[in-house]
């Protein structure tokens, strides 16, 4: 023990040895300071390598005769070599560790190897031997151990959804609860829940979902229609939820569903877009949802756009349509199906009245099966219009749905689908009206400002429908239209009524076409009367 000079210094010398036998490999197990790991509290521990990354290349492909080719392995290997694909070797030493402390109920850690520690400097472990000398052992590897969560976590998609709703959700505990319940549900009826988020099934259960709606939280109201749709999709969930009296949870769930399908069709609107929107007739929809429920079931067979639109429309027609619904459900489905695209636009008008009048039209139509056929075409046209509407407002695919308050994302999706469908198809007689309508509307769009407010083109009615007699003789000419418009402001519907197909001898389609062209030429002024867009001319 040499001692240095100096007043208050003393030193001891120790011999340092670096043992040569290398039977033991030393490694560092590093824990995070936040985890507060106390090794002395461990009663027992098990640690082994995490082999989950090992891929047995031979075993991957099907072993056994069926489906295998002769020499497939060699060919695959040759192919990989040709393309220079180098697969990394699986080195056991580099695999992470799995550490289990205190048995099954204790903690679990995963230790991943930290690279590059032996590159520029070596670490040594100095331990003091009983004889006072130090022994230094080189460190072979450094593993960072992190605790593994045993509780459930959200997947990435779910997390994104929840993030979008973070401002609205107050009760955070129910998030995981719903997720668990949903998973339970998912077990028994996988097909129901999963595939049909945006589609028919939602509507099918919409009725029942409507039954369960017991509250009108502001949040819910915004999404009332699709909620009823979507809540249907979660029957099992909804009911226990209801029983639990977890109102918020239900609301959230519905939202969740909505959001889920939202993500599919939602292009431009963000979370905050819908918050301040008017919901005054949401309640109407909600009440009518139930009635529509059964109907929806039937309408499932129809094309998705139609069906979904039905759902949204039904709110508005529910009062009038009730009787009809019971009577001629099928017919009505068709009608509504056809009306749907039309209705979409109507909703944008935010007027129930216009719908009403149309309803009456439709009532008349319901009577005769003949009109069914004719009505086939209007929906397409309406679809064109609908899409025109959405195209008009450009970045508004979300707003119409909110305006109408009934449109679910599915509706939006349907609208956009229609839009696309309409856009692409230019040929075909049935399509050309739609195309023309589009053009007409887009041209008039240039004139009007973009506003969610009434669309002047609120749907020329399916012209064939009305059987009410009209007094004037009818040649569908520009002069005639001009005369009408000068005399008094009229909606397109009114105009169409004037030019009955019986009288003009034109088909409903043609009527619409021609009328559209005429209107384009005339370019009449617009006025909003009773929430309906009227045209008029001043000469």
């Amino acid at each position: 023990m040499a001692s240095l000079g100096g007043s208050s210094s003393s030193s001891t010398e120790y011999i340092v040895r670096v043992p040569k036998n290398t039977s033991k490999k030393y490694s560092i197990m590093a824990f995070n300071s936040g985890d507060k790991v106390n090794c002395s509290s461990w009663t027992q521990a098990r640690m082994e390598r995490d082999m989950s990354n090992r891929r047995m290349y031979g075993v991957e492909e099907t072993e056994g005769a069926a489906g295998s080719e002769f020499g497939k392995k060699q060919r695959e290997e040759a192919r990989r070599k040709k393309f220079g694909i180098v697969t990394r070797e699986f080195k056991v030493e580099d695999q992470p560790w799995i550490l289990k402390v205190n048995g099954k109920a204790g903690k679990r850690f995963k230790g991943t190897k930290k690279g590059g520690i032996t590159e520029n400097a070596s670490y040594y472990i100095f331990t003091q031997c009983p004889d006072g000398a130090f022994e230094a052992f080189p460190v072979n590897g450094w593993y960072n151990f992190v605790p593994q969560a045993k509780h459930r976590t959200l997947t990435a998609e779910e997390a994104e959804e929840e993030w979008g709703r973070r401002n609205k959700v107050v009760n955070h505990f129910s998030i995981m609860l719903q997720r668990r319940l949903r998973e339970q549900e998912r077990g028994p009826d996988d097909d129901d829940e999963e595939g049909e988020k945006g589609g028919k099934k939602k509507k099918k259960k919409g009725g029942r979902g409507g039954d369960l709606r017991i509250h009108d939280l502001e949040d819910d109201l915004e999404l009332s229609s699709d909620e009823s749709d979507s809540s249907g999709g979660e029957d099992g969930d909804s009911k226990p939820k209801k029983k639990e009296g977890d109102v918020k949870g239900k609301g959230k769930k519905k939202k969740k569903k909505k959001r889920g399908s939202d993500s599919e069709a939602n292009e431009d609107s963000d979370d905050g877009d819908f918050e301040g929107l008017e919901v005054d007739y949401m309640s109407d929809e909600s009440s009518s949802e139930e009635e529509v429920g059964e109907e929806k079931a039937k309408s499932n067979k129809e094309a998705v756009p139609k069906g979904i639109d039905e759902a949204s429309e039904s709110e508005e027609e529910s009062e009038e349509e009730k009787q009809n619904e019971e009577e001629g459900k099928e017919e009505e489905e068709e009608e509504e199906g056809k009306k749907t695209p039309v209705q979409t636009k109507k909703k944008r008008d935010s007027s129930g009245e216009s719908d009403t009048s149309e309803d009456s039209d439709i009532d008349g139509e319901a009577a005769s099966a003949l009109f069914m056929v004719k009505k086939r075409t209007p929906p397409k046209r309406g679809g064109g219009r609908g899409s025109g509407g959405s195209s008009r407002t450009g970045s508004r695919p979300g707003t119409p749905s909110i305006d109408s308050a009934s449109t679910s994302n599915t509706l939006r999706a349907a609208a956009s689908k229609l839009e696309q469908g309409k856009r692409q198809v230019v040929g075909g007689s049935s399509e050309s009206p739609a195309a023309k309508r589009l053009k007409m509307e887009s041209s008039s769009t240039a004139v009007t400002t973009q506003s969610p407010a009434p669309s002047g083109k609120s749907t020329p009615q399916p012209p064939s429908g009305k059987s009410t007699p009209s007094s004037s003789d009818v040649q569908l000419t520009e002069e005639a239209v001009r005369r009408y418009l000068i005399r008094k402001p009229m909606t397109t519907k009114d105009l169409l009524k004037k030019f009955q197909t019986k009288r003009t001898g034109l088909s409903s389609e043609q009527t619409v076409n021609v009328l559209a062209q005429i209107l384009k030429r005339l370019n009449p002024e617009r006025k909003n009367v009773n929430d309906k867009m009227h045209f008029y001319l001043t000469e």
Binding site: L4, V18, Y26, S27, S33, F126
Partner: protein, 256 residues
């Protein structure tokens, strides 16, 4: 298997404290050259006015630095290395070992109580050492070198390549493939299809050693040729002959 994976926790229980020391590369290289019991130097721990001072002194015999290349380096490793002491911080660092030989046992040796960095005392020796290192590192990995004579040893003209000769010989010896009994061929085919479902015609020819046309005749009887969707056009057995759940032989009995 109960032994494997079980961690021996004696070190943790005893709260054995160890030091984690970061050591420069050249020093660890010198330590690797230690002989005998592995004594490499001396560690001096002193308390100088309240502060702990730790210094490591390398043994004399280990100061010779070997350098790469032919010329002996006149460089000597510095001998004095003060340690810079650091705290562990909040981190828990444990040391565990695995024994590699035979029985694999993981044991927890202890916890790190002190971290240190071994620094060389700056000296002339150290500077020279560093310079040497830099020189070695700055050499490019690849080197272009001019040759005096062109390399002529690789490709020499040959009357006929050995490979070719071998091939011709093999062909002659094999001769044309002889047709054997149809039944035999069928047996061969069925046993082949037991192993794999799809076969290339070339592979089948290889396996059965039959002429192609004859083999194709037989295959047309019992198999189908499919352009499977994957490029290769392969042969497979007809469904009535197949029985791939167990690959039973009797299923494939046919009567010609």
């Amino acid at each position: 298997m109960s032994e494997k994976g079980e961690v021996d926790l004696t070190g943790a229980k005893q709260n054995t404290g160890v030091w984690l020391v970061k050591v420069p590369k050249y020093l660890s290289q010198q330590w690797a050259k230690a002989s005998g019991r592995g004594e490499v130097g001396k560690l001096r721990i002193g308390k100088n006015q309240g502060k702990a001072e730790v210094e490591f002194t390398l043994n004399e015999d280990l100061t010779m630095i070997d350098s790469l290349g032919d010329k002996p380096s006149g460089v000597q490793a510095p001998r004095d290395h003060p340690f810079t002491m650091q705290t562990v911080g909040g981190q828990t660092l444990a040391v565990f070992t695995e024994t590699q030989s035979g029985k694999e046992q993981i044991s927890l040796e202890g916890l790190v109580v002190q971290r240190a960095e071994c620094r060389p005392a700056v000296s002339e020796n150290y500077m020279k050492l560093k310079r040497l290192q830099i020189e070695e590192l700055s050499k490019p990995v690849r080197l272009s070198q001019q040759l005096e004579k062109a390399v002529t040893t690789n490709y020499k003209p040959v009357a006929n390549h050995s490979y070719n000769l071998e091939y011709d010989r093999k062909k002659k010896e094999e001769g044309k493939r002889a047709r054997v009994d149809k039944q035999q061929v069928l047996d061969m085919l069925f046993s082949a299809f037991e192993k794999h479902q799809y076969y290339n015609i070339k592979d089948l020819v290889d396996i059965t050693k039959q002429p192609v046309s004859y083999l194709k005749e037989i295959l047309r009887d019992i198999g189908i040729y499919n352009v499977k969707g994957t490029h290769k056009n392969t042969w497979e057995l007809k469904p009535e002959y197949r029985h791939y759940q167990g690959g039973e032989e009797e299923e494939k009995e046919t009567d010609d």
